[in-house]
Structure formats: structure tokens, C-alpha cells
Symmetry: C2
Subunit: 153 residues, 2 copies
Amino acid sequence: MMKLDHTDLKLINLLQNDAKQTNKKLSLNLNLSVTAVYERIKKLERNGIIKQYVALVDKKKVGLGFQVFCHIKLAQHTQKHIQLFENQISKLDEVVECFHVSGEYDYLLKVIVRNMEHFREFMTAKLTSIEHVGSTQSSFTITEVKNNTQVPV
Amino acid sequence: MMKLDHTDLKLINLLQNDAKQTNKKLSLNLNLSVTAVYERIKKLERNGIIKQYVALVDKKKVGLGFQVFCHIKLAQHTQKHIQLFENQISKLDEVVECFHVSGEYDYLLKVIVRNMEHFREFMTAKLTSIEHVGSTQSSFTITEVKNNTQVPV
DNA sequence: TATGAAAATATTCGTTC
DNA sequence: GAACGAATATTTTCATA
């Protein structure tokens, strides 16, 4: 486990907000040389603390304005069925997030689709065709109040 | 509304997976010149289709292994109370996502904290101190099965 | 950890289709 | 308007201290 000092945490935060700023700009913010910044970033990458650099896309502008949260109960809860369900659900592009959670339902999914038609298609053709899905309960997103990828380090 | 051809969509997908690959690498993938790739990216940025470039951090490696979904009901539902709630909730760093949703509850929150202690603190000191929060129901994450930032274009 | 040179990359520009 | 290659500017990378 890598130790992170205050500068590392600040660097992580800067990169969580803008991954494409130059090392020079970062160095000014952090009071370090460009090389020192470079070395710290490489170390964060090597240690897997920074997993990936991604571009964030405006969902609405690409016609994907419909977000749905699906609460799912499995019909059976053996290790085998859990494995099977998780494998199959992971393959669906529309499912952008899937968490095994405590409480009344077993899984919480975030599904991104174009519109209600598309969602209907997803439900009937894909979701309910996965074996051992018991009941599902869907919540439609009315407003996206906050949607950060940054983690509060 | 900008029209996106097949090359744009492919480019978006490549950048959603790796935002730091060089234009040269992209140009090889897309059968374009480096300049053409450059111009297309700038256009996507200008049109707000690409909103941001971010570094994704391994939550567990920075000690944030505890994810909780909070379902919240408001006590009152006037425009004013909704505004107030959304403003206050947005300010909390632990709340990384917040959606106004249909169904039994009004809001669905994703909260990232260090551990159960930290969550308790968050609940008592922050969440329930926000006015007009009626009831809350929390689901703890057992496993993160899938957690993509990519949108299925 | 810092400096600075070398290599790689991004950006601009003039031109063509 | 979109694409290209050549040129220029900027940034990353790495050897060395």
C-alpha cells in the first residue's frame, strides 16, 4: 500500500478534475518541478491508484437522455446463480453500473438508454431474459442533480 | 445539435476508454490523418459532447472502500424545498451522485466514505441536518460488479 | 529531486478536394 | 467543410548531476 502525502492527494484531485492539463501547469499549482510532477504521476499510475484516463461525454448530446435505476431481486441466491447473473449483466452495454447491495433488493443497476421505447426493449429482450432474475423495480431519473466521477480524497 | 458520423462515434468510444492516447494512435485506429483526428476532437470539445477529461482513481487504494446508496424522501415537495435540498446535498463531498427519481423515494444518492464510522458521521452530522429530509433508507454495497463511466454510444 | 537536452506529440498553416 | 502533409510550438521523457 503506497503512502500518499499531501502533495499526492492534491495532485490526485487536480487530475480527477482535469486529466489533460500539462505537467507544467500542475507543477505551478503544486510548487514542484515538472519532473517531480511527472515522477509522482508515473508512481500513481504504477501503483494503480490512477486506474484510467477517460473522456466524459454529455449523455443528452449523444441522444442518451434516459437513465433508469433498476432494483433487482434474484430468484435464487446460490454462489452459482450469483456468478451467472453478474457475468451476464456485465455484458450489457446499457448497464453502466451494477452493485450487489444489502437490503430489500439484491442488485442496483444504472441503465442508460435513448428513451422509454429503448428501455422497454432492454427490459423485455435483455434484462428479463437473464435467468434467475426474480422481481425488478425501476426508478426513472427526473433530474440529474450531481454526477461526479471524483472520489473525495 | 451536431451530427455525428460513424467515425465520430468510434472516436468518442476510443476516448471514453483512454483519453490520453496520442492522436497518432487514434489516427491509425480511425484511418485518418493526425490533423483530421485533431480537428474532430476539437469539434467534439467545442460542441460540449466531450465535457471533461478525468483521471479515475481506485477507491479502495485511497481508503474509500465504503459505498452506500441512500434513498431519500422529502418531507415537503414545494419547488422551494426541492431547490434547497438539491443545493445543500450538492455541496457534500461524500455525495458523488444524486438523482431525483420517480417511485417510492424522491432521491437516490451514491455516497462514498471510508468506513461505517465515517458513514455514521455523514448521516448524523450532514445528511439528516439538511432540512426537510423526511425518511432515508440506506443500502450498503457488497460488491461492485460493474462501474463504467462510458456511455453506450 | 532538479536541470536541461532529446524525442515525441500537439497545434497551426497553406493547400487540395 | 473536411482532409492532408509540412512547419512550428509545446510537452514529455530521460540521462545526468
